[in-house]
Symmetry: C2
Subunit: 575 residues, 2 copies
């Protein structure tokens, strides 16, 4: 916080609002000169912001940041390329402009001001009584204005957003006219949008790459990005014949310069080994021209999303690819996000794999935790936060894990469109010990593989409990579990080493107890839901007359009834 | 907070622990001299502490305090009559010494220290990183040492107790030996205890008393307090014959000097008008000698509990007593709390009524909100926080309240032994508008009539929702609603004006739906609970095999099922 020069460094949150505001409505002299407003800490230099993401599709606003875990704070550097009369930048639960926590730079046409503000449930802006976006500096450069500011993860202000691990919904808005005051800003009339990032990147030391490391770029050559908002592009690549087993030890994005705001995420999948060959294809994934066989290319080798950096495997492990028993065919999938419908943009983005023939000590593996894909796990309609939980039980880990345990180092959370939160916790002897991965602002549109801050050791007898929270307020019938986009999943793909034969450790409610539930609801409501065996579970769920009682009893059932466990080896054999 | 002299007044919660501690481990020079440690605000004078309560049964520790709503803080003055090597004073959820928020004064035999500390779940003491008990002064006087300190209602420290409306459980402990450090204090070996008070007294302007005010003392003359921990003493008093209708406009306690720590609470009841006379009695309420007819003296005229002050009726209203249609007989009940089993103490405490013959504009009335006394509302065993809710519905207030509404000015919350929290909220057009009275640390052992901070206006069509939270962890069978001490109640006696004919506005679950619940539990669990009509509701509850499912479905039933409403006129006639 700011301090008058001459006095001791001493923060004064108990100052009255008026005093704080008079300090913070700092004039940034007409965007002209370099102005260092306050010097609580030293201003980090440009190279000190390792993470970067464009906020808007045109790239007018570019955010860089760093994370200081000792200070429990984030330093932001926001480049504004074409400043008009100010801007809003902030965070909110899911990217909405209501109930948002905002840093605002605004000009009344003469002077410019900076302050920490918040918007209420109607989108009206208010100056915050506690100023927690701390302006550290403003700097004019040929490319635009740089604003430097700092924000603690957690402030003591109930109006402030709590910066946590997982997805953060950043919002931005551009002021195109002068405004007489902060309160006069009409949020609904502002040109703005949202960008999802993982703000709190883990602070991991980067393993050294071996001298014999080679690289391979899986890129779709010279794609003309379709002039539509959303495109999933599919491109087939092929490893050389006789390519022996290697370890992928790192990968990073290759994004064509100028397209940084369009390439939303990219994944490389390995195809199924059962097929000797796969057709070459380079086109939209939803095209009728796409060969069906490409649906057998689903084993994730690499995944990247906007704002993510290079992905490093731990020193002890690498991801096996090549060699006998694995397919030579790879599928690259790129999600282009083109909301301004640019035409004719050319792109050759993709992923660069770093691999070595000197195999590391362990193969890395991927295990699915959470819920089995079955309609017995369902979400009533009209719910704002319905919770489902999947278990990887102590019995399964007892059978399937080596005595020395496994180490989880990365995690990718997955649901379909109704998912809002996902968390996996490790439980030992019936007590929760550690959060494996948690995202309280999870979005199905932002599914990164995230490196964990610390590897999580899992031993035989441990339990891994994955909990998903869903919103079905816009739906009029029950949402059942399944593969369809309007059905739901609750999955955490954990990346770990050493690889074991356990690929799937998931659960669902015992179907017999679900049958008792249908019976009970039927009798309690005096309704005749057909329980004939020929009626499917989804049909039975769809025919329930939903009310708070039927909803609550379903919740009670899921928390009480015995579970049916899927504890599967690679080729779907149960342990 | 403290500040080195010379610098500006500026609070610094961001100072490091070590600095704070070095400031706060302030030497209070061997209990000898007057020492003003810090002067953030001016030290309030003795007369500025209007509320007073003894902490321990011997009266060695006496707490006075005041409440500043503008500052959102409480100032405490603690008189320590016989200081040895220090003391602990603090607050905790229900008076336990674990997870408590403590101010500690301790001596190592040479120097004395003061600090804000907290105890963990095992009772181990820790210095708090944020010092929120602010020592303002220490003063030696003939009667003992006075400690003056201040505490904000709400601090930003998760280790701190949040001071809220309602009951606060104060705890104290006396250090009888020197201790080398705060951490060395062994809480389990300390002589200490708890005292319940309403810390946040409402800030009400006191109405002027009329010139014709008279007083009447209802006191039990020269009682020898029995040498046992708990005594309820009953004493019958009688109004003069032909005593006309008056208004009680104020009452206050009369406590015999020296017995302040023994007189726990007192109530004056009016007897039923149906009986022409009541026997005189002066003895323990549970004595076999007590005439049965005294059970018909249950209409509360006045109630006081330790720490409470005088009770004033609002200017517009008074409580009617005397006159035709009301009994001349009054019963005084005094709860003596004598844990140290003093022998031969004599007491003449009671309540002094202030009344006037010049009747005020309105008679005051008392209305019962909450749950009907019926076994259909039950609490499963083993619950730590089971919630039951009683409704005074819009339909009932529509029928029974005058168009101009009524004004609630005081409230007495009531449950039996399992009650832990009680709250009543006012709802209008389906939205919660106002809290009528709330006690998040409610104790069945501390049932005061509390004046509300502000009168609550209730209009026809409003709804009053009373919610009670129960703890049955020490019980092995269900607790049903009823009159017995091991059955439960959920009641808020609200004091209001103008008096109406509505005496009871309470609800319970529809018994038909409860029957469906017994059926459902029976079928789901494949058990045979006898649903024969001759089996009572309590018997059916007792025979349920309790598990989380049966518990959760009961919760769902109570929140879903229709209610049966009791909306009664004075003589138990339904509207």
């Amino acid at each position: 916080r700011m301090q008058n020069s001459g006095s001791k460094p001493c923060s004064c949150p108990s100052l009255k609002l008026r005093e704080v505001v008079s300090m913070y409505f700092t004039l940034i002299a007409a965007f002209l000169v370099i102005l260092v407003v306050a010097l609580q800490g030293s201003v980090p230099r440009g190279s000190d912001f390792p993470y970067k993401v464009p906020l808007d599709p045109q790239g007018l606003l570019e955010l860089s940041w760093n994370v200081s875990y000792p200070e429990q704070a984030v330093h932001f550097q926001l480049l504004v390329r074409d400043l008009q009369f100010g801007l809003l930048f902030g965070m909110s639960d899911r990217g909405e402009f209501e109930n948002a926590d905002l840093a605002v730079l605004w000009s009344d046409g003469h002077n410019s001001y900076f302050g920490d503000a918040w918007s209420d449930a109607k989108g009206q802006l208010h100056m915050d009584s506690q100023q927690d976006y701390q302006l550290l500096g403003a700097r004019r450069a040929p490319e635009g204005l740089y604003l430097l500011f700092r924000r603690a993860f957690s402030t003591c202000d109930p109006k402030d957003y709590l910066i946590e691990d997982g997805t953060v919904h950043l919002i931005y808005g551009i002021l195109e006219k002068p405004v007489p005051s902060l309160q006069a800003i009409n949020i609904s009339a502002i040109h703005g949008g949202l960008q999802r990032v993982q703000l709190l990147k883990p602070n991991i030391s980067i393993p050294e790459l071996p001298s014999d490391v080679k690289t391979m770029e899986i890129t779709a050559p010279d794609v003309v990005i379709p002039s539509q908002e959303t495109t999933y592009w599919c491109y087939m690549a092929e490893l050389p014949e006789g390519f022996p087993k290697h370890h992928i030890i790192m990968y990073e994005p290759v994004v064509t310069a100028g397209n940084e705001a369009l390439v939303h995420h990219m994944e490389v999948f390995q195809c199924a080994a059962e097929f000797d060959s796969f057709p070459h294809y380079n086109g939209p994934c939803d095209s009728k021209m796409k060969p069906d066989r490409l649906n057998y290319c689903r084993h994730v080798l690499a995944a990247w999303a906007m704002g993510a950096q290079a992905f490093y495997y731990p020193e002890e492990a690498g991801l096996a690819f090549g060699g006998p028993g694995s397919s030579r065919y790879l599928r690259l999938e790129i999600h282009y996000h083109n909301p301004l419908v640019f035409k004719g943009r050319r792109d050759s983005s993709g992923i660069r794999l770093y691999y070595t023939a000197t195999l590391r000590r362990h193969d890395a593996g991927i295990m699915e935790l959470g819920l089995v894909y079955t309609p017995v796990m369902a979400i009533p309609p009209g719910e704002d936060a319905f919770v489902l939980t999947g278990y990887c039980t102590d019995k399964c880990t007892q059978l399937a894990l080596p005595a020395a345990g496994i180490r989880i180092f990365a995690s990718q959370l997955h649901t379909h469109l109704a998912g809002r939160k996902v968390v996996t916790v490790l439980s030992r002897d019936g007590r929760e010990r550690q959060v494996v991965n948690s995202d309280g602002h999870y979005s199905p549109h932002f599914q990164e593989i995230r490196m964990l801050k610390e590897e999580v050791a899992v031993f035989p007898g441990d339990e891994l409990i994955t909990t998903c929270t869903y919103n079905t307020q816009d739906r009029s019938r029950a949402t059942v579990g399944g593969f369809g986009i309007l059905e739901e999943m609750c999955v955490n793909y954990v990346h770990y080493y050493p690889q074991t034969q356990l690929e799937l450790c998931k659960s669902a409610v015992d179907p017999g107890y679900l049958h008792r539930y249908f019976n009970l609801v039927n009798r309690f409501n005096d309704e005749e839901i057909c329980m004939c065996p020929q009626v499917s579970v989804p049909q039975q769920f769809y025919s329930i007359p939903w009310n708070t009682f039927n909803r609550d009893v379903l919740k009670s059932l899921y928390s009480f009834a015995p579970i049916s466990m899927h504890c599967n080896k690679s080729s779907a054999i149960r342990f």
